[in-house]
């Protein structure tokens, strides 16, 4: 993959009409992830660059939302930082349109609509929904077990902005006239490279899914995160979905 387009800090300040103070403050509050700050030597000395699309989109969103929310709450809403204890009523989850309804039903058979699921469960559902079109049932199950099983412990913290990707892979093995296809699920930070015989069926950018879920859930009257959201904010958040920075991701939109 080509390197993302970068923008210098100076240009960001000028373009977005913000000050050094604001930029540093937002960084401190965790609104702008550390990994986006890319230091480069230029002829004028050290300069900081950012992934252009991501930073402009993020700052635009911060500017839109900062008047209604205290900065500290904003981090919860905007970034992929997640309060693991946050629970979501199942009924609310059903209203988030892009989650697969069949999936919701099969995964939560034993629960009433008023029951709560954890944000992590909601996230897993989100990931599975994205795979729904391309993955086979047993693969969906494999992904589910990867995320919820023992090996998935502590994953919520790791779904940071470092670009944790979930890969669904297939490989055909043939020997002695018998051929079999095996499915694999892998989680890797950044962009993983696989051997040429592996078919990458789907790549899911986990932070994007998490953020999407959170924004969709934060939106509306029964906000569980404490911050009330205005209708104007919905548009602001919807604009960032998918993110232009992830051109490779296949969109599985309703």
């Amino acid at each position: 993959m080509d390197e993302e387009r970068l923008i210098s800090k100076k240009e960001v300040l000028e373009k977005m009409g913000i000050s050094y103070g604001q930029l540093y403050r937002w960084k401190r509050k965790g609104l702008i992830p550390e990994v986006w700050f890319i230091r480069r030597s230029t002829f004028t000395g050290q300069e900081t660059f950012f992934p252009r699309d991501k930073i402009l989109e993020r700052i635009g969103r911060i500017k839109d939302m900062k008047d209604e929310h205290p900065l500290d709450d904003l981090a919860e809403l905007i970034t992929t930082r997640v309060n693991a204890k946050l629970n979501v009523a199942l009924a609310r989850l059903a209203r988030v349109g892009w989650l697969d309804e069949d999936l919701l039903r099969t995964c939560c058979v034993d629960r009433a609509p008023g029951d709560a699921v954890s944000i992590w469960e909601a996230f897993v559902l989100g990931v599975l929904s994205r795979l729904r079109r391309t993955a086979r049932d047993e693969e969906i199950d494999l992904v589910r077990r990867t995320l919820t099983g023992k090996r998935g412990n502590g994953l919520l913290e790791r779904v940071s902005e470092n670009g944790l990707n979930l890969y669904l892979l297939r490989k055909r093995v043939a020997s002695g006239g018998i051929s079999a296809q095996i499915s694999l699920v892998a989680l890797a930070e950044g962009r993983a490279v696989f051997d040429p015989e592996i078919e990458v069926v789907e790549t899911v950018d986990l932070p994007t899914v998490l953020q999407r879920i959170k924004l969709d859930l934060a939106d509306g009257e029964e906000s569980t995160t404490g911050g009330e959201s205005s209708p104007g904010e919905r548009e602001a958040s919807a604009g960032g979905d998918g993110g232009p920075g992830h051109p490779r991701e296949r969109e599985v939109e309703p």
Binding site: K9, G21, Y24, T44, Q46
Partner: protein, 245 residues
Amino acid sequence: MNDERRSVSISGSGSLGGGEYARVVISGSGRVDGELVAEELRISGSGKISGRTEIGQISVSGSGVFGDEVIAEEMRISGSARVDGPVQAKELKCSGSFRAGGDISGDYVKISGSLRVSGDVEADIFKASGGFGIDGLLSADKVEIHLGGRCSAREVGGEKICVERIGSLGGALLSGLVKMFTGGGAAELRTTQVEGDEIHLECTVADVVRGKRVEIGPGCRIASVEYTETLKVHDDATVERQQKV
């Protein structure tokens, strides 16, 4: 939570299992094995906490060693303290010597002794009158440094950044005191870059200074200054390159 958290005091030599306490006082030599959650921790002798700590008020006037992360509302160090993990304190005041192995973040950080940090220091307000060495970024809305010794940070960034020599009066005494901690050295700030909206610098050595309104005072050696509104350079300062952007 139950309201009957115990208070413990170690005044001879002893150790304590981790857990939740109301108040832990170590005035002799004490050790806490494991994680410590308490409303208050006072170390006036020598104390060591091996696990992470989550405490309302920490005061160290002897010597304190924290083996892991420290989260506190208020942390005051007048003796010496070392934290091997990150520090998150709403208010951090250090008049002794403080070493942190990770990042320090807080609302208000005030250093009048010596500070050594392997990571970043991030605060709303950062005030220093002693010496410090920060391997990472020093960032605050308001950075106020009264040079009392050798100060260094990889980068400094914020809204208002002010670096000044300590005035001659009380300064001599204070800088003498500080030198005891920091081992002397010229009172100056060394950094690769300073970025802020309002910048006033004295005795600062930097590669780049970027800001809106910039004042380069006496004793500065700056390779390059980029400013958007105003720039003032003192006669006793060296600025190799300046550019209005």
